[in-house]
Each structure stands twice: as C-alpha cells, then as structure tokens.
C-alpha cells in the first residue's frame, strides 16, 4: 500500500454520520493537497461503516483507510491510537489532521508522542509556506503553517514542524468551511483488519455506560446571539441578557472572562477556545473584545456593541455602538421590542 507522503484526515463517525468537523478538515485538506500536488486520504475506525465512503469521497478523497470492528465503537484511546500509529508508520503521511474534539484531543497527542511528530492544537488557520531556521540557516520548503491563538488568545502564533512527520494539527468544529469538491468523486477503499493494527491489551478501557445528553445550548444554529462579557458585572445582570434573548428568540453567549468569572456555563463560550459563530445579529454586552473572542464572532452579519467604555476594542469591528451601561440599555431594548413587534 506504499502510497506515501500524502495528507490524511482522521474522520470521526457517530450514528451513521461522519462528523462535520471531519468533513471541514477534508475540505481544507483537499485545498492544501492540491497546492502540494499530493493525495488526500481519510482514515476511519469504528463499527457499521458500510456506506461511509459515500459521505467521504465527495470531498475529493483519493484513499479511504477503513478499519471496521465492533470493539472500535464507541471510541477509546488505545485502539484508535494504535491504528493511527501503525498506519502512519506504514504510509508516512506528510500531514495529518483531526478534529479538536474530545476524541481528536485525546488521540492526537498520544499519536504525536509515539511518532515524535509535532502537534499543534486548535488551529484557526492552516497554510503552506516556507521556513528558514534562524539558528542553522536551513531552509524548508512547503511546510504546514499551523496558525493558532496562544496565550489566552492574546496573540496568534504560527507553528511549524520542520523535521518531524507527520505535521499534525487539530481544528475545532466550525472554524473551517465544509464544501463538497465533486459529488461524483471517487477513490479507492482500503480495508484494514483491526487485529493487524491493535493488540488485545489496547482494549483495557471499558465503557460501562454512555448516555447522550444533547446540549441545551445551540449557539451555532442560532440566528441571534446576545453575548455578555466581564463588563456585565454580575451573575444577576446576566439574567437581563437571558431576558433579552428570550424576548428575541435568541441564544445567550459569553466571552471567556464571563465564563471564568462563573457567571455563565462553559458551553456558552464564544471565541477561539469556545464556539465559532456567524449569526445574523450579534449583540455584545460588556464585552471588551479580546482577539480570542473577536475571532469567534467577527463574521456575524450585524454586530451591536453595548459598552460603557467608548474605546472598547470590540467597537472597532461593530456596526452599531451604544455607549452605556448594560443594565440600563437592555431593559429598554426589551421594552421597545415588545412594544413594536406586533
């Protein structure tokens, strides 16, 4: 099977569907593979993978490595790691991507440690470019630029792996765009036997209970988001955001500072280390606008910033700026919406 030096995406699979984040990575992978003149590959491990290629090929995938075994679903760390480690030793990918999910962030580091390859977590952008080592003067052509926020989102760093392969990166769901390359695209399927890539000792972790709790929060799907930051000032004031959200049929979001302050649940965090959103209307209440937050909401169609500080950084990307206190402005918005909406 010695088709080496390609770009491979680890695809997650649940309830008969390939995860969105994996399809987003295939889309990005196809673009980069074209640029490098290499093939795009996918690897998927699990149970009941019957028609999975139909979902994967349209993204421009040339080879699918399929490992089907009842013991591979639900995901556990060791067998999936062993599959990737052993497969990567064989096919020596140049680049490998996985979702920055609880699976990808569990699997990626383990694989990178075993292969001594570099891994960059939660990339927000992936590009191809050259690199010169400042110390040795060695030039490297066509490396993967793994671009990610660092330091709580206060800066953005470009990371490269000059020597080690594969160059590995994880990306959160919703950061890259998902786009079918060609609905008739086909490649080859390579069926692998789990027993060739795992050992019996890999199956020591047993899942004794698993219940799906659908998140009550649906930030990504909400056309209107009312988000609060540290400037909201208190948990009580966050209630006002909820009232406005209920009135408008919106979802409540938050910046990291508000989550860290304990005013709102973690799953509502918007930004590079939370959810990336693109709603029709984004109402930012008391959010100063750190890069880490702005990067997760700047593509909103209309941004209204309510802040007592007229110089809050978020105001530079807002469409409408209301300089005032959140607790004064929100009740008025609620009142006038109720008055005018019939």
């Amino acid at each position: 099977m010695a088709d080496k030096n390609n770009l491979i995406v680890y695809c997650e699979y649940e309830d008969g569907k390939v995860a969105d984040v994996s399809l987003e990575l295939l889309t990005k992978g196809r673009q980069l593979a074209d640029k490098l003149g290499i093939k795009l590959e996918a690897v998927v491990a699990g149970d009941n993978l019957k028609d999975i290629e139909k979902q994967i090929f349209p993204y421009g995938v040339d080879t699918i490595y399929k490992v089907e075994d009842a013991r591979l679903y639900p995901y556990t760390s060791l067998p999936h790691s062993s599959i990737l480690i052993n497969l990567f030793k064989e096919i020596e990918p140049r680049i490998a991507f996985m979702g920055a999910t609880s699976i990808g962030r569990d699997l990626g580091p383990r694989v990178s440690s075993a292969l001594h390859s570099g891994l960059t977590a939660d990339c927000t952008s992936l590009e191809i470019g050259d690199y010169t080592d400042a110390k040795t003067g060695t030039e490297y052509k066509d490396l993967l630029y793994q671009i990610r926020p660092a330091f709580g989102g206060n800066i953005v760093a470009t990371i490269v792996n000059p020597e080690c392969r594969p160059q590995m990166a994880t990306v959160r769901e919703g950061v890259m765009k998902k786009e079918v390359r060609d609905s008739n695209y086909t490649g080859k399927v390579v069926d692998l036997k789990a027993s060739d890539y795992t050992s019996p000792e890999d199956f020591v972790v047993n899942i004794i209970d698993r219940h799906v709790e659908k998140s009550k929060v649906n930030l990504k799907g909400s056309p209107i988001i009312v988000a609060g930051g540290y400037g909201v000032g208190s948990k009580e004031n966050f209630e006002l955001l909820q009232q406005l959200a209920d009135t408008l049929g919106a979802e409540v979001g938050a910046s990291r500072a508000a989550v860290d302050a304990g005013w709102v649940e973690h799953e509502r965090q918007i930004g590079q280390t939370g959810v990336t959103v693109r709603p029709k209307l984004y109402i930012a209440c008391g959010i100063s606008g750190q890069i880490q937050h702005i990067a997760g909401m700047q593509d909103s169609s209309l941004i209204i910033s309510i802040n007592s500080d007229p110089n809050a950084p978020i105001n530079t990307i807002a469409d409408v700026v209301i300089t005032g206190k959140v607790e004064d402005v929100l009740p008025k918005l609620i009142k006038y919406y109720k008055k005018n909406s019939k």
Partner: protein, 289 residues
C-alpha cells in the same frame, strides 16, 4: 486500601490580563512579566486526588510541577489544601519546551517518583490550551489514559471508575491502573486551604528559595517534610536531546498581534428615542422579529 497519587500541576501566567511585554522575541512566554496562578483545571485534578484520599485513608498525594524555581508556590498551595508532598522539576535545559518535550521531562520525573497508582492532571493549562501533555505522558509511560474526567468515582482492586464529560454527553468507563487521568473544569472545585495543613506547611520551601537564609535552611534540615523536592534534568536522568527547544519538534515561526478590519460604526445614544428607533429599524429590515 490506600493509593499513591501523583497530581500534575502547572503554574501559569494569568492570561486574562496580558500586556504587550508578555512574549519574548523568540516566541516563548515572558513569565516574569505576569502574575502567576495555579492552573485552574489542575486544581480540579487536585480535588479529585484529595477526594480519593478521603475515601481511602493512607493515600499519599504528591504534586509534580515543572517550571522555574518560583513554581514551588503552587506546591505550597497544594500542601495547604491537603497534598502530602511535592516536587518541582526545574532546569534551564527545559526552557522553551513544547508539549512533547514537556511530557518527556515530566515522564522522567514520574519514573523517579516511581511508586504510583494514578497520575491525575488538569485537562489543559490556560496559557496554552493544548490538552496534550496528559495523553503524551501516558504514551511515554506506556499507560492507558482517561481524559475529560468529571468525577473519579472509585479506585478499587486495580480498577478505576471514571465519569467523563464529552460533547455527546456523559460516559462512564472502567480502566485498570496505573493510568493517567485528565480532569475537566466541570469537575468539583478544589476545597479551600485547610487551617491545620496551612500551619504545618507554612515554612515549606524548595532549597533554592531559602538558599540565602540560614535559619530557614536549618528548618528544612530539622523538619524534612517541609522540604519541597527540587530536581534538575540530571536528577531525573533526562536525555538533553529530548529536552527544551532541542527536544521540541514544533517551532514558533512567528507571532503576531492580530489587527481586525475596522468598520465605521454608527453610534446610537442610550436614550429611549434612539433605542426605540434602532429596534424599529431592526424589525423593519427583518433582522429581528
């Protein structure tokens, strides 16, 4: 039945308030310029260890951290809250480590500590948010791992039962120990300082912290439990080629302060009239309603 638990902890710069001098030209963090705190999820990890200590009397909780000498501050904090011992792994050779080189160094220190059943750490640290060090240490030590733990329910007869919090919901798993567990921020908060422990460990220190103070040095000799372990790369027999910048496959090519495209914003006064007009406008153009 008692357990030996190693808790991995990191002293991190408080990234919630970062100034412009926070990064050095080579892309590494200028730690000296920032207030340092106990990484929040490592406190969640410590709580899980202390809870197990309550459940299984005789359990020993040892904190392990890597960082500059001042990282002994978080070991002291851990002792005040109920940990039994602590080690700071500190050496210039570790400077500039990426996650892989960090895991390598910590794995060597874990081997030196030796006797352990569980290694528990926070899922990730707030200065990097990578969540990579836990699984990488597990791999380096050839151990299983359970990440995203919310509750370590029990550890008996060689098996742990752990509740995990993942996107899809909640999963309960059993796994044999020794193993590595990383704990989510959704787990219980860490208990506060214990008054008795705080008294007992008030003068706990790493030798380098008291090097200039004869009286305090003497105290460490007289009461060995006050001595916070301080290990260098040589002490843990680390291969220098795998440490620090040399042992890091990832390199920082560059860092940028991102400038977002500024828009011309319209200012709306917070008056009743102006806000009502805004609402009417948003309803009229079908943004809301």
């Amino acid at each position: 039945m008692s357990l030996n638990i190693i808790v991995l902890a990191k002293q991190v710069p408080d990234t919630r308030n970062v100034g412009k001098d926070a990064m050095k030209a080579d892309g590494t963090v200028n730690r000296a310029a920032l207030p340092a705190i106990f990484n929040p999820e490592d406190l969640n990890a410590l709580e899980q260890a202390l809870k197990l200590k309550d459940m299984y009397p005789g359990t020993k909780v040892t904190l392990l951290t890597m960082g500059p000498g001042r990282a002994a501050e978080i070991i002291r904090e851990g002792l005040y809250r109920g940990a039994d011992d602590g080690v700071v792994l500190s050496d210039r050779a570790f400077a500039g480590s990426d996650t892989l080189a960090t895991s390598y160094a910590l794995a060597t220190a874990v081997r030196k500590i030796g006797n352990f059943d569980l290694i528990i750490g926070g899922r990730q640290a707030i200065d990097g948010d990578t969540a990579q060090v836990g699984p990488q240490i597990a791999e380096k030590l050839g151990l299983p791992q359970v990440t995203y733990a919310e509750d370590i329910i029990k550890a008996e007869n060689g098996k742990v039962t752990v509740k995990r919090r993942i996107e899809a919901g909640v999963e309960t798993v059993t796994a044999p120990y020794p193993l590595v567990i990383t704990v989510n921020g959704s787990a219980d908060d860490c208990r506060p300082r214990n008054a008795k422990a705080t008294m007992k460990y008030k003068y706990a220190a790493a030798p380098s912290e008291v090097a200039a103070d004869e009286a305090k040095k003497e105290l460490l000799d007289k009461k060995p439990y006050l001595r916070i372990g301080e290990w260098s790369a040589a002490d843990v027999d680390a291969d220098l080629a795998q440490c620090g910048l040399a042992g890091s496959p990832t390199k920082v090519k560059g860092i940028e302060n991102v400038v977002f495209t500024a828009k011309e914003a319209r200012n709306v006064e917070p008056t009743d009239e102006a806000l009502e007009d805004l609402i009417k406008e948003l309803i009229a153009n079908h943004t809301i309603g």
